[in-house]
């Protein structure tokens, strides 16, 4: 019953790692056993975002080379019961992991966890191919920028043709409602029009994400942040609950909500 989900994007810096961490934490909060696998060998970040960097002794490449047992490399999260991290090496490069070794690894992980979530590196080369090799499902993250959407389109094409992952899901990250309204940013509808895949969720631009990421924390457990709520809804949708999309209009704070309430703005 367990699932292997890869979080990918093509373009770098759109929020793959942040998304991976928050979805993982969200699933763990709801009582699921989750392992997050960092597939970005040589440029790992997931451990930093989770604040677990100083706990790493063994990593995924050690497991693949049979220098340690799988259980020795898996790190328990310090905040969420049920959340685990399998880090990768920082001092090696992408050639340390092959698609075959990743498949073997994930077969073992599937027996231990409900959800195996793989944080894919940017690009579409060897690192990407290894990261997606074992996945049954894919989440494509993009931002409302032409370049990111272009790269997401390329990745969706590769997932469908080369990897054989049917209907990947879309997350639009860092949306600024105000800019969309003034016509200066692509809207979610524009993006979905181009990519033509199911929308899993929309994350608004949020300072709290910068703050939490720098502190090695997640935002999904923050009741007061809109981005946290958006991640929570994504988690529910992954679990199969039909949660409606968040109304992101209230990013302007109290005044705009008041204006909206008395009918001065739409």
């Amino acid at each position: 019953m367990s699932e292997v989900i890869v979080v990918t994007s093509g373009k770098g810096g759109v929020g793959k790692t942040t998304t991976t961490a928050n979805i993982g934490a969200g699933l763990a909060m709801l009582g699921h056993k989750v392992v997050l696998v960092d597939a970005d060998t040589g440029l790992r970040n997931l451990d930093v975002v989770l604040g677990l960097e100083n706990r790493i002794v063994y990593d995924l490449t050690n497991v693949i080379n049979e220098e340690c047992r799988l259980r020795q490399a898996i790190i328990k999260d310090k905040r969420f019961e049920g959340l685990h991290l399998l880090p990768t090496a920082q001092t090696k490069d992408k050639s340390a992991v092959t698609p075959e070794s990743m498949q073997k690894l994930c077969t073992e992980l599937k027996e231990m966890f409900d959800y195996v979530i793989i944080d894919c590196p940017a690009g579409i080369e060897q690192g990407f191919m290894s990261a997606v090799a074992a996945a049954g499902k894919a989440i494509v993250v993009t931002t409302p920028e032409v370049a990111a959407v272009r790269d997401a389109d390329r990745v969706i094409g590769l997932l469908e043709s080369k990897v054989g992952i049917k209907d990947p899901k879309l997350i639009v990250n860092r949306l600024r409602t105000k800019m969309v309204r003034s016509g200066n940013m692509m809207s979610v509808d524009d993006i979905v029009d181009i990519l033509a895949i199911d929308l899993l969720g929309v994350i608004p631009e949020d300072e709290k994400i910068v703050i939490s990421t720098n502190r090695g924390e997640t935002v999904v457990d923050n009741e007061h942040s809109l981005s946290g709520k958006a991640f929570k809804n994504i988690v529910w949708r992954i679990l199969g609950e039909p949660v409606p999309l968040l109304d992101l209009q209230d990013e302007g704070g109290f005044l705009s909500r008041l204006r909206k309430f008395i009918g001065l703005s739409n």
Binding site: L43, G51, E53, N54, R55, I56, V57, K78, Q90, T91
Partner: protein, 125 residues
């Protein structure tokens, strides 16, 4: 100044001099002592069978006495490692660690635990 206690012992190992800063992903591994003239950044790793001396900020992972030498030490102008290992001992800074002493420190194994003290011992410059 008296010879610091840490060096009041026999160390016949070869020593390598690294004249640059180690950045994330870079590593130095040596059968002997390692002296670094520069910093060791987070994500970088230094492994030595003997002592490790950093003439700069130690922010990465350091392993002295790799192979089982309990008497190995780590000395750095600023000792802020992600993780510090000596022989078979592993330690990491506590999660709420905010202390930032502005002086050189030495890490060594005492009674089976890694301890960190000012270097030279008791010295304030």
């Amino acid at each position: 100044m008296a010879i610091p206690q840490a060096y009041d012992r026999k160390n016949d190992l070869e020593t390598i001099l690294v004249q640059r800063t180690l950045r994330s992903g870079q590593s130095v591994s040596y059968d002997g002592n390692v002296v670094i003239l520069g910093d060791v950044n987070p994500g970088a790793q230094v492994t030595a069978t003997g002592d490790v001396i950093v003439m700069g900020v130690m922010r990465g992972i350091v392993h002295a006495g790799a192979g089982g030498n309990d008497s190995a030490v780590v000395i750095a102008f600023r000792l802020r490692p992600t993780q510090l290992r000596i022989a078979n001992h592993i330690s990491r800074p506590p999660d709420d660690d905010n202390v930032d002493p502005e002086q050189a420190e030495i890490a060594r194994v005492r009674d089976g635990v890694i301890t960190i003290e000012a270097f030279p011992p008791g010295g304030e410059r």
